[in-house]
């Protein structure tokens, strides 16, 4: 039983292969290996698990499970629990507008970015720039002056500053890339950096 995760796994005692009878896949059915987004609450037994009972590896098809070996049920259950793991809800992130930084060669390119948390739980976010590229194909792998991080309570917002060291020999122009957030769901955050050289 996975408390309050919305997932119910029903297990039938007996040799694997005899039970349970095959069922039609219900609407909203989620097979193991799908992206763990949201799970319908109280949806009943809604997970297909493809487990190698000896190794715990997820291999083969659903048939491998039901038509599998007569390995000890306890071992099988341990493999099942271990392989599925508890649900870990992930932060969903998106950006309706690109983040824009400005700077000059040999200086720092920076700009503010609000982090608006519309979720019902606090969220810790670290924004990490990807390699940036200009129209001519020049790739700039930026180094940040420090972490652009925020811990945002539910329903609130915080402003972080994204700040990059600009190489002295970086040609002026517009560089585009993304701000990445590790282990989140959602779209990439577009990042644009304008480098002006007034020298």
């Amino acid at each position: 039983v996975w408390y309050n995760t919305g997932v119910v796994i029903r297990l039938v005692e007996g040799p694997i292969g005899d039970e349970p009878p095959r069922r039609a896949r219900p609407a909203g059915h989620r097979a193991f290996g799908d992206e763990p987004t949201t799970v319908e609450p109280n949806a009943g037994p809604d997970i297909d698990v493809n487990i190698d009972a000896n190794t715990g590896s997820c291999i083969g098809t659903e048939d491998d499970l039901w038509d599998g070996t007569d390995d000890d049920l306890g071992e099988w259950l341990r493999a099942l629990v271990w392989t599925l793991g508890p649900v870990a809800p992930a932060i969903c992130i998106g950006s309706p507008r690109q983040v824009h930084l400005t700077g000059e060669p040999g200086g720092i390119a920076d700009g503010p970015c609000r982090v608006v948390n519309r979720e019902r739980a606090a969220a810790a976010v670290v924004l990490r720039p990807s390699p940036l590229r200009n129209d001519e194909g020049l790739v700039w792998v930026p180094v940040t002056t420090g972490p652009a991080a925020a811990v945002v309570p539910a329903g609130e917002e915080r402003t972080v500053t994204v700040s990059l060291f600009v190489p002295a020999d970086l040609p002026a122009g517009r560089y585009a890339g993304t701000l990445d957030t590790l282990a989140t769901l959602g779209a990439e955050i577009p990042l644009e950096v304008d480098i002006r050289d007034d020298r």
Binding site: Y3, V87, P89, R120, V139
Partner: protein
């Protein structure tokens, strides 16, 4: 420029994913799972999860810089030797990666939740305690001890890795390691 038009990032799961109840359920499930899996499985999944996070982080600019800088140090060679000689390459790669970052964020959110007490009061938590044998006499450990310990542990790693990779911040121009580029790389 109005506030709404300013650059911003939105965190929005539609109100269905990260609720205090769901996060509490995730934590309780992890604690209860510990009684069903072996120590090797637990550690293996944590190691695999950290390694998966490292692979993801290496796709960012700073992660790529750190990894590339480490590749030029003794750490890379000795790590590869230990990895293969002790069979860790074969072992760790077989464990399903634990979502270490999601779990950490979710546990942090629980610690910050304003509605934790009423949610716990409504929850029928069925003995979430971790059952252990009489390994030793109990020495009290508090949640804050763990947090400070994790801070010290991660600070130490950051300090060491940043020290080892400090030379990687030197500006240089060379061939691009990232696909699809036509020009040189500046860092």
């Amino acid at each position: 420029v109005t506030t709404a038009e300013q650059p911003h990032v939105e965190l929005d799961d539609g109100g269905e994913g990260r609720t205090t109840g769901a996060l509490l359920g995730s934590l309780v499930a992890r604690l209860q799972t510990l009684q069903l899996v072996s120590g090797a499985q637990t550690i293996g999944s944590l190691v695999a999860g950290l390694a998966r996070l490292g692979q993801d982080a290496a796709r960012t600019a700073e992660g790529a810089r750190v990894r590339e800088a480490l590749e030029s140090t003794r750490i890379a060679a000795n790590g590869a030797t230990l990895w293969s000689t002790l069979g860790m390459d074969a072992a760790w790669s077989r464990f399903p990666p634990s979502p270490v970052l999601e779990d950490m964020r979710n546990d942090l959110a629980l610690l910050l939740a304003v509605d934790l007490e009423p949610v716990i009061a409504e929850v029928d938590v069925i003995d979430p305690a971790i059952h252990v044998g009489p390994l030793r006499e109990a020495a009290p450990i508090e949640c804050l001890d763990l947090i400070v310990g994790m801070w010290a542990y991660s600070s130490e790693i950051v300090a060491v890795v940043e020290t080892l990779t400090a030379t990687a911040t030197v500006q240089e121009v060379r061939a691009p390691p990232f696909g699809g580029s036509d020009g040189p790389v500046l860092r």
